[in-house]
Each structure stands twice: as C-alpha cells, then as structure tokens.
C-alpha cells in the first residue's frame, strides 16, 4: 500500500502550492517519508491474504494509501474477527438491551454510502483504480445500492453512527424501533450518536419543529384534530432516559430552539429551569426601557429558592438606574452641578451592578435626602445592603473624591456615645488599605493606622506608609529599646523624628525591656 515512488514524486511536483511552513520547508519531504515509515511500521495495514481484501475500502472517501486514510482506518478498522478481547468490559450502568440481532456480515459492509452524501469525493473514490480491485460492489450504479442501504440492523446503525459513517435512519419508523436506536446509542456512551438519533426523533416526533420535513417526507403520521402535540410522546420517553434528555436539552440550547426547550422543561415540571431560561433572554434586549419591561414580565415566573427575589432586585435596580441616568445626563449637560464638571462621568450607570450603582450614588449624590431615588441611603434601604458593604463602598467613593471631612465623619457618626472614639464596621487595617488605594496623604493615613489595635500589625502598616510617629510611639509603648534604636537608622538625618527618638532613648524614666 506504499505509494509508488512515481506517485509520490508526482504529488510533490504537481502541487503548485507551497507547503505550510510549519518548520523548515526542506525538511518536509524527509519528515513526511519518515512519518510514513513510522506509520507503516505500526502495523500491517495491508493484509497479505486475499480474504481480507475488503478492508482496503476507504469509507471516508479518501484514496487508499493516503496517510490520513491509514491512520483513521487504524483507529477504526472494521475487522471483527472472533478472538478474545484484549481488555475486559466493565459495567457502565446502562439500561440492558436485547441481544444483538445479527453480527456484521461482510457483504453488508459493502453497501456503504459515502459519508454525508459527499458525491464529489465519492466519485474520486470510484476513479481511483486501486479501489476497483477491492470494491466490486461500489462500482454498481447508484440506484442499485440505494435500496440496500436500509438493511442495517439497529445495532449496526448505531455502530456506524459511532464510527462517523453515513447512515439512514428513515427505516426506523415505529416508536419502538426509534427508542431501541436511542437506547443503543446511550449504551454506547457516544454523545454524537445519541444526538444524531435525537435529531431524527425530533424531526419525526415533534410536529411544530418539523413541518417542512413532514411535507417532504410525506410520512403517514396521524395529525390529531385536537391539537395534540406530537412532542409529548418524545418528552414522555425522554423523561425516563436521563442521559438522552440531557443531550436533547444541550442540543436545543446550542441550536437556540428556545420555544421547544421551554415546552420540554415545562412538560417535565422543571419550572425553575424554564424560568431561568426565559429570564436569560433579557441579555438580548439592548434598549433599557424594553429590558426593564421584560424583567417586569419575568417577575411572575416560578423561580426556585431566592432567585425570584434577585430578579425582583434586578428589575428594581434597572428601573432606578433609568431614572438616575436621565436626571444626571440632564444635569451634566446643563452644567449646573459642580461635581459633574470636576469629575465627568466616565460611563452611563445603566446595567451596572448594584454596588457600582451605590458607589456612583455615594460619589455624585452623597448628601441628598433619603427621599430621592439617587440617595445612597435610599439605595441602601431598598436593596437591604449590609452595613459593612455600605461602609466599604461609601468610604472608597468619598476617598476617591479626596473629601477627607466626609471620610472622617463616617467614623464619628458610627459612635453615638459621644464622639470620643472612632469606630468602624470594617477593620482599620482594611480602612487604611482602602484609603491608601485611593491615594490618601500620609496625614490622613496616619490617623487610621494609629487605630489598628494589634501592635505588630500597626507597626507593619506604619512602616509601609511611613507614619514615623506611630512606629516610634508603638515601640515606646512596647518598651522596645532595641527596635527603636534600629528604627532610628531608617529615618532621615536631622529630622524631627530622629530628635524624638533620641529624646526617648535618653529618657531615664522609661523602663526599657531590653
């Protein structure tokens, strides 16, 4: 089966296209030969005895002798000799099936039809003289083999499906036959085959989806005058076949057959999934008003668990964003409000997450009375935002504006026992982090670093943000003379900090621990 030398040269000379430059072009030929040799040495691809001549038929329509052919055939060769399997079968828990009706007969394999009705390659195959030798039956006129095609049993059909070969499913017309086909495909664990059978089932069992198909085929299907949905038959059968059902759902999803999918989910009583599927459609609606109306219509759907509340929130949020956006766009255009001039809006607030919206409100509408839609407090109230969450967002927004008075006030107002101590629902370490990320000056940072209760952590932060006073005071409180002396080396020569350290070190009243 090695191509003759002449053939090979012919190929290389006649090819008017340059080879792909994977590597060195010069290497190509030798590499190809080498690979070919390797491929050929893998196994005796060409059986010596005449009995197995039929093996040389290329079902995929590639001329025998091509590398691609040989590799593929190696993988899916059709020899079914009676010999002991090399590896044992393990149970994969699938419905048990009736015994195979018949094994594959040699002749049945010849009644092959080229894959996918690819006539072009089919003719190519016929044109290949090497094939004529081995495939007498393929040379028969098309009309002759056509009516033989449907001779395959369900088992053989599924096997061919698995191997990616052309099949005709039309002969499986009774529901039983169809379901047998489906069960066999499921038992073979081949998703491709399962889906192939399902597509056929859908075409022949669902009325709406396949009107065109019915017209073409003119099958004897009784259409019930009472609006009976044929798909119910399919749905019912799928319900007891979970694997097939999952494949069907996935196929419909990928093929974007929303209607049928919804119908299926509802018929199965999976209303929560159906609700989510319907809700998901909002993504395809660009116009914000239409999207809001759509979300409103979703509120009546049967969501599972908390999902309903979230959809409600989603709707309320978008409704509010539309109001805020309209007002702010106007305000920005009129140029009346200073904050919009100083910090022009980067993007519209529409369709932003809730927290982004809250941040936006804290940024542009911080001091508005609680009654307005854009007031942060109102947003917080409506969406039941936790105190911590609200605090984090407001802090970041006010810090971004460098409004340190507001920042300061946030901590004070928390404490209603007389404003003596700063309190925060957030750890002060985190507060420092947020402030620092919004480039707060050392003066501001210092205040909050000092409030970190853990001494080690405080020193770490103070050193990181160069709050010398805090470092010095903490070492003093810890009575750690050595560390203080060490720190003296890090501060600037002749600075106030250095003097302070010197003062402390010479202070006789401190009882240093080291």
């Amino acid at each position: 089966m090695m191509k003759s030398k002449a053939d090979e040269e012919d190929y290389w000379n006649s090819s008017k296209y340059n080879a792909f430059t994977f590597d060195d072009a010069d290497d190509e030929l030798s590499a190809l030969k080498e690979t070919k040799k390797a491929v050929n040495s893998i196994g005796p691809l060409l059986a010596e005895d005449g009995e197995e001549d039929w093996e040389r038929v290329s079902w995929s329509g590639e001329p025998v002798g091509s590398i691609s052919w040989s590799v593929k055939e190696m993988a899916a060769s059709n020899q079914r000799a009676d010999r002991e399997p090399a590896f044992p079968k393990i149970s994969t828990e699938t419905p048990s099936l009736g015994k195979s009706q018949s094994g594959i007969s040699l002749s049945s394999l010849f009644k092959g039809k080229p894959k996918g009705g690819n006539l072009q390659t089919f003719n190519d195959v016929l044109g290949d003289p090497s094939l004529r030798l081995y495939t007498p039956e393929l040379r028969k006129p098309k009309s002759e083999y056509k009516d033989l095609v449907s001779d395959w049993s369900a088992e053989e059909t599924v096997q061919r499906l698995q191997q990616g070969k052309g099949v005709t499913l039309e002969k499986f017309r009774s529901l039983q036959d169809k379901l047998l086909l489906l069960d066999l495909a499921v038992a073979a664990h081949d998703g491709n085959a399962i889906t192939a059978v399902l597509i056929y089932l859908k075409r022949t069992l669902c009325k709406g989806a396949s009107l065109r198909w019915f017209c073409c085929r003119r099958l004897n299907v009784t259409f019930s005058p009472f609006g009976f949905f044929c798909s119910e038959v399919l749905f019912r059968e799928l319900e007891s076949r979970q694997t097939a059902l999952r494949h069907f759902i996935h196929y419909l999803t990928e093929n974007r057959e929303q209607r049928l999918l919804l119908e299926l989910l509802r018929a199965l009583g999976r209303t929560e999934e159906a609700a989510l599927l319907q809700y998901k459609d909002y993504k395809n609606i660009a116009d914000e008003n239409k999207r809001r109306d759509f979300l409103k219509s979703c509120l009546s759907l049967q969501f599972g668990g908390e999902d309903g509340n979230h959809v409600q929130d989603h709707y309320t949020l978008l409704e509010r964003q539309i109001i805020i956006e309209a007002a702010d766009r106007k305000a920005e255009r009129e140029g009346k409000l200073e904050v919009f001039q100083k910090f022009p809006r980067k993007a519209s607030i529409l369709n932003m997450p809730l927290i982004t919206t809250l941040y936006y409100c804290c940024f542009y509408h911080y001091n508005e009375p609680e009654g307005t839609f854009s007031s942060p407090l109102n947003v917080r109230q409506t969406f039941k935002i936790s105190e911590k969450q609200y605090f984090t967002t407001a802090l970041a927004a006010r810090a971004k504006l460098k409004n340190w008075t507001d920042v300061d006030a946030m901590f004070n107002s928390r404490n209603w026992l007389g404003f003596s101590k700063k309190k925060s629902p957030l750890s002060f370490q985190r507060v420092v982090d947020i402030l620092q990320k919004n480039s707060a000056p050392t003066r501001v940072l210092q205040e909050y670093v000092g409030l970190v209760s853990d001494a080690e952590l405080r020193i770490g932060l103070a050193q990181k943000h160069k709050c010398h006073d805090i470092v010095i005071n903490t070492y003093r409180d810890m009575k750690d003379r050595q560390q203080l002396a060490e720190y003296r080396k890090k501060v600037e020569r002749g600075s106030a900090e250095e003097r302070k350290i010197d003062e402390l070190l010479s202070n006789q009243q401190i009882r240093w621990k080291n």
Binding site: Y17, F20, V71, I249, E306, D307, L426
Partner: protein, 582 residues
C-alpha cells in the same frame, strides 16, 4: 529540583511522532485533497475573497457552522457561486451536519475530517486542546467527546502500547475506557514493544479542590498570571520592558525554564541568581584567552551562553512582574485564607475575608473561586450564607444568577438558604438510605447538587500535612510542596495510592466518598510492569498537578505522561461556567 531522580526511571517515548503524524495528514488533506493555498480565521463576518473555493478548518461547533451557513447564504443571495468545504477536527458531529441541512446549504458545503487528536505540548504533556470538554461533559452532561477521548487513547495505544493495565475513576473515565476498548477490539492487534505500560484515567470532577487553589509553582503561576496557550506564553510590555510583547515557547527546550518550572516560587529567585552567577563565570572565562581559545569560545560556547542569557533575563523579569502583581492583590492574605479553608481552620475569618473581598468588588473570578473553594471544602458543615452569594450578585451584577445556577448544578457552590441547617434528623435519614441506593440516586439525578466530602477525604488520605512542622520548600518531602506544603493535591494522591497498591483495594472508603466509578483492569496481553504511566485527565488538569506528578515520578522511579483534554486553572475552570458564552 534539589534532589536527583532515581536512576532506574525509564526514558520517555518520543511524542514528537504525534506531531509529525497530524501535520502530514493536514498537509495531505489541504494540499492534495482540496488544493488550499490560504487559511482564514473563521469569524462571523463576510469573507472577502475572489477565490471560488473556500475551505474552513474548524472544531465541530454548531455556532461556527451557523456562521459558515450565513456566509454561504449571503453568497447565494448575491449570486456568487462558490464551492465550500468544511474540515472538522478532530471529527464531525451529526448535529453540525444537521445545521447545514436545516440552513439549506447541505450539498453546497461538503465536509471532511482531520483526525487531529493529540498535541504534544512537551515531552511529557499531551493536550487534546478541547477546553469545551469540561463544560459539555460535566455541566451539560453531553457525552459527545467521550468517543474522541477514546480515540485519542486508542491512537496512543497503537503507537506506544499495548497497555498492560488501566486504572480509572469517574463516570467519564469509565465510558472513555469502554469506548477505547471497543475500538481496540474492532481494530487489529499487533505485537510490538510496549513503551507505555500503565494508564490512569481520572475525571476532573473527582477533584475540584485542586484546580481552585492558587498556583505557586513557577509554571502554574505563569499560567495563572500570563495564561499559557498551547505551550506558548505572551509576555507583555511589563515583562519585556519595551513597548512590544513577545511570544515564548515554554517547554523543556528552554533550559532555564526547565529548571525552575516545578519549583515553588520562593525558590525561583535563588535559582535564577545562582544561574546568573554561573553565567557570569562562563563569560569571564574569555579573559586571558589567546586568539585560538577565543575562536573556539566564540564558535562553540558563546551562542549557547547568549541564548541562556536571554532566557535568564526573560524569566527574571517575568518573576519580577509576578511579584509585583501578587503584592498588589494581597497574595499573602489570600493564600492564608486558602490554607485555612483546606485545613478547616478559622472558617469564620475566612468567610469574612471572602465577604470583604466581594464587597470591595475585587476581581470577580477570584471572589468566585474563593466562594467555591469554601463550598467544596466545607460543604454542609458550615453555613455558606446566602448572604455572601447575594453579596456577590450585588457586587458583580445580576446576571450571575445564571452563573450560580451552573455552579449549583455542578456541585461547586451549594448555597445554604437562610435558616437552613443540617439537622440531626436529616443526617440520620442520610445514613439510613443505604449506599447502593444513594449511588443509584446520584446517577439518576447527577444534575442535582452533589455533595463533596473533602474534609473526610482529606483526613483519610492525609492531604493536609501537620501544620506544626516546618516545611522546607527547598527540599520537598511530598507533593504538598506545590501548595507551599499546605495540601497534597487530591487527584495526584489518588494516583499515588492506586499505583502503590496496584489497584483500589484498601481505598473503598475513599472511592465511596468520591462517589465511585473506580476500576482497575489488566490486559490479556501480559506486559512487563512498565514504569511509564499515562495519566489522562478528562476535563483538564493544572500545571501544579503536572509538577506534583513529576515529583512523584522522581521519588518512585516512574515517568508520567500527562494527557489532558486541556490545560486548566481556576480562572479557566470558572470562566467556562459563567453564563455569557451560550
């Protein structure tokens, strides 16, 4: 690695054979069969070409086929007549052909296949480059890739087999095994010298914990931060310190990379600076050379040294860039939280850390990763408050309702509704239902939330080393080094145990907790016990896991070849479950 490999570890087979095979196939297919001279990337837009024949080389995805149908129909409407060919790789699906038929272009478009299954990324890594395998198989429950995986295994079997033993765990593994076995039976047997002895098949859903952890070995970190694609990484301007990005192949050919890829990041700088010193010494040699010596030096050594120099500076800048990025995101604290979750310590603090993370709208994927890690490690024991999930949606957008539904379905994130706790009653009922029924139930409704038993598994398999002992990362004592000594990856530990015991005996409790589907079969053709083991991850594996297996191999004198449907990491895993792609 600080200590040397065992002497008796075998040589790996030459995987480059695979590459040559598929390349030649493609050249053959395109040139001879279809006379292709130009390739275009398929996008959803009209094709500007004067050619009257167009060939598409695509993955069998319905969406892509639909795009092509649009192109064909647009051409038809414009009165253009062309011939179209779709080459599906690695195989075509009937569903794709059905699309052609439905769109009325079947016949105008002909199809073919390019059986490209395996891409060797390195001398011990082969990828199927099928990232969609994970979502299709585990989320949608679509088994379309099972046969593909079986065929890939079959190809390896015919090139490097016959295999003598096959172990596996997971539903998909079992099906893949069956598909492979059938293909072997249908094919012919040939006696050849086996180069791969044992095969281990493992489903990704056996272990979700490992891919959810932050990676800290060099290769994994590079993947987490820069994203390695097909063994290639693009370093941006921040690494190259110029305005251009460069693409670099990362594999064992890169001598510098090869030495640091499996190292814990904390050792990498040490290695690199040692390397730099060596390089300096090598350069210094030329001092005091005479002309002749200099000539030899320039012709023989200089090129290699320069190459090494280039690679060295590249990896140093990459490491610097990694350091910068990680410091910015408080990596230390993040790791601490992860380790606490793995250990089951201070869960309350972990939850508040995660909540804060969410509140501040820091990276969405990171937040999701932490939430999932919390869920799969803690499961029912701890209250994953709906609050934090609600907070998540507030922070990152309402559409994550769908993401959460996906995560729930996969058992990655089980939300506990307010007020709901696991009552004594419930757990009693759980025990009453015997295991057999439980297994059947989970099979029937595998779309229902699965429970993870990480804590119990961790105890059983000693996945978390005792924290009171100092762990020297420079001299790793077990696979835990890949996670700073905090956790031995579950997937790799299972592989280690099964190989050690030569089967699943003694691991019954473990397999029960993982939800079974384990198997171990011996082939009829008795093979020598070969120390080359093929590990096939169905649904993806991480670089950290590969590093762990390399370590295990060195310890035990095995050589592992990893076959994976795709290289994954926490971001890829979670992004596959976001709901913006379908």
């Amino acid at each position: 690695m600080a200590h040397s490999a065992r002497r008796d570890s075998p040589e790996l087979p030459d995987l480059s054979l695979l590459k040559r095979l598929v390349r030649d196939q493609l050249i053959y297919l395109l040139e001879q069969q279809h006379e292709v001279d130009k390739l275009y990337k398929v996008e959803h837009k009209p094709i500007v070409s004067i050619s009257d024949q167009i060939c598409f080389l695509i993955r069998p995805r319905m969406q892509t086929v639909k795009w092509i149908c649009d192109v064909v129909n647009a051409d038809k409407a414009a009165g253009k007549f062309r011939r179209y060919k779709i080459i599906f790789t690695p195989q075509k699906f009937y569903a794709c052909e059905a699309v052609l038929e439905e769109q009325g272009v079947f016949g105008d478009v002909t199809t073919d296949e390019w059986a490209f299954y395996l891409l060797p990324l390195d001398e011990d890594i082969i990828s199927l480059e099928l990232p969609e395998f994970f979502r299709d198989n585990f989320l949608a429950g679509d088994q379309r890739w099972v046969r593909t995986a079986g065929s890939a295994l079959h190809l390896l079997h015919s090139l490097f087999g016959p295999f003598s033993k096959v172990y596996g765990i997971g539903r998909c593994s079992k099906m893949t095994y069956e598909s492979w076995r059938e293909q072997v039976e249908q094919g012919e047997q040939k006696a050849r010298h086996a180069e791969i002895g044992n095969v281990f098949l493992i489903d990704r859903d056996v272990d979700f914990v490992t891919p959810l952890c932050s990676q800290v070995v060099y290769e994994g970190l590079v993947d987490d931060i820069f994203r390695i694609k097909c063994g290639c990484v693009e370093f941006g301007p921040e690494v190259t310190s110029s305005d251009k990005s460069i693409k670099v192949m990362l594999n064992s050919q890169d001598k510098v990379f090869n030495e640091i890829r499996n190292e814990h990041f904390s050792n990498v700088f040490g290695f690199l600076s040692q390397k730099a010193r060596n390089l300096q010494t090598a350069y210094d040699k030329r001092r005091g050379m005479d002309i002749q010596q200099m000539k030899t030096f320039v012709s023989e050594e200089l090129k290699g040294l320069k190459q090494e120099h280039r690679l060295l500076s590249l990896h140093i800048s990459a490491s610097e860039s990694i350091m910068k990025k990680k410091t910015k995101q408080d990596f230390q604290e993040l790791l601490k939280t992860e380790h606490c979750l793995l250990e089951g310590f201070e869960i309350r603090e972990c939850i508040s850390f995660i909540e804060e993370h969410i509140n501040r709208q820091v990276s969405m994927i990171e937040s999701l990763r932490l939430l999932c890690l919390l869920s799969v490690t803690e499961n029912a024991l701890c209250v994953i408050r709906s609050v934090s999930c609600a907070g998540f949606r507030q922070s990152y957008g309402a559409d994550h309702l769908l993401t959460f539904s996906n995560l729930r379905q996969l058992g990655l994130l089980v939300e506990q509704q307010p007020g709901e706790t696991l009552t004594v009653m419930e757990s009693k009922v759980g025990k009453l239902v015997n295991d057999r029924t439980a297994v059947k139930l989970t099979d029937a409704f595998s779309s229902l939330a699965k429970k993870s038993h990480f804590r119990a598994l961790s105890k059983k398999l000693n996945l978390v080393p005792k924290s009171d002992e100092e762990y020297d990362l420079r001299v790793p004592r077990d696979m835990a080094y890949i996670f700073s000594g905090a956790y031995i990856p579950l997937s790799c530990k299972i592989i280690e145990q099964v190989l050690e015991r030569d089967g699943w005996t003694g691991l019954e409790e473990v397999t029960r907790l993982i939800n079974g589907h384990e198997f171990a079969v011996t082939g009829k053709i008795p093979g020598k016990f070969l120390r080359i083991i093929l590990v096939m991850f169905l649904g993806g594996c991480t670089f950290s896991e590969i590093s762990a297996l390399r370590f295990l191999g060195k310890e035990r004198g095995y050589k592992f070849i990893v076959v994976t449907t795709a290289i994954t990491n926490s971001s890829r895993l979670l992004e596959a479950l976001l709901d913006n792609n379908v």
